[in-house]
Amino acid sequence: MNYPIARKIPRAVLDAEADRLAALAGAPLHRKLGGYARLAGPGFMGAALTLGAGTLTSSMLSGATFGYRTLWLIWLSAGLGLFMMAAMARFTCRGGFRVIPVQNRRHSWVIGSLMTGLVGTAAVAVIFNFGQVALGTHLIESLAPFAGFAFPAEYNWLLYCGVTSALILSYGRRGGRGTRLVEAVMKGGIAVMILAFGAVLLLVGVDWGAAGRGFFIPWLPGGGEGLDLFIASSAAAVGVMDWVFFHYAGLGRGWGRRHESLARFDLIAGLFLPFVVINFLMIGVFAATLFPQGITPDSAPELAAALMPLLGPTWSQILFYAGFLAVPITTTVGMSLAGAMAIHEAFGWEPDTSSWRWKVSALLPQVAFLAAWNARPVWLVIAIAAFLSLANNVVGWSMYLLLNDRELLGADRCRSYLWNLGILLQVTLLNAIAVTYVFNRLGWW
């Protein structure tokens, strides 16, 4: 166990978990799944991180613009992402190494510390948190009048940042109990989203025939718009930050060789299924309401506001806002932890969750409180988006090469053609994002 956060977990707790896993190995399927669900965590945290303001806004827009017809892109994008996530699980459980220092050693610090750690994870955490805080404070502001008072974003950011900061700083504390608390909140957040959006969808009604066709029959709008939508949706659902976070969150739980089955269960039940279900519900709500009326607002607040008159009773509006509030909160927490882990790895610092260095790194994304006043570092967003478009694929190459590295993983390297094929398909889509970005700048796209 070479990750300091895991060293804070008492040996007895880790041994008890290993014993439970061993007992579950021979248990009947239903008991095994139940046991794994209780032990899982990093996958749920990954889903909570991925299901942020950007992903959900994109689903709302898809539903409002194309109806149910792009539902198939959800499972395709999340499914493609699983191959790379399984590689991260392999590095965690069998490799037992910390991936960024290994990238530094084998592929240079430009790819490890810079592209994977600082830009692909830490900078993304800071920049993307502006969107989470903007959405979160807007939702609190929208919810407050239901309770009979006003609570504008200019003030409620204190509540938003206070709650998320408390959760962020709990991680890795109190002998692993802090980590379990954060995982429980992330699981709870996902449950709230599913219950809230599910209830709203039942209220507005589902055209099951159209939803079934949209889920299983591929369709894209014509021309460049369709290709752009396909490339962006299928490659970007699970990215560098998700890879890094799942890997280090697993190391932080003390996962080792015996945990690989649990890690794979966590990827499917914790990451894939919530991602698919929540996006399905969100697209469904907007496909059933705004799409038939031809209303297509631009931003999440506008989309939510346009939806409200169509929801009818007050309770359903509150339910939608409450479920939606779980989206930015869980993403802020996940991204901040991912950023802190990445900063420490990039600079070769040992992560100590009680140190000031960890606290400052973890709370760095909270500079996004400025979003409560609509402030957004546009130049930085553009620069990071450009760098990400051009760098994500190279980080993907690096992960593929590590998984096939005989010297590094020995007999635990990838032995499956299908696994490599899945990773290469995702890498090719990431290449396509980089190429279309360059073509776009040159005016060729």
Binding site: G223, N404, N431
Partner: protein, 74 residues
């Protein structure tokens, strides 16, 4: 170990065959997308699309081969 496997593992210049394969795949992707953009702009360019797609499929098919141990008959 077959010829393709040896090619993937052999170093050529700064990189192994696997890395060169990834670079070639990127070039193939760019060719295909260049063709698509030409088709969208002028209606021509299907040859680029075909060549790029064929090269992409070939690169992926080869690169998906897992790394074999030297002397292995796997």
């Amino acid at each position: 170990m077959g010829a393709v496997d040896r090619l993937l593992e052999r170093r050529a210049g700064p990189w192994s065959g696997r890395v060169w394969g990834l670079v070639l795949n990127l070039v193939a992707n760019a060719v295909a997308l260049w063709g698509v953009s030409s088709v969208m702009r002028t209606g021509d360019g299907w040859t680029w699309v075909a060549v790029g797609c064929a090269a992409t499929v070939a690169c992926i098919a080869v690169l998906a081969r897992p790394s074999r141990s030297p002397g292995s008959e796997e």
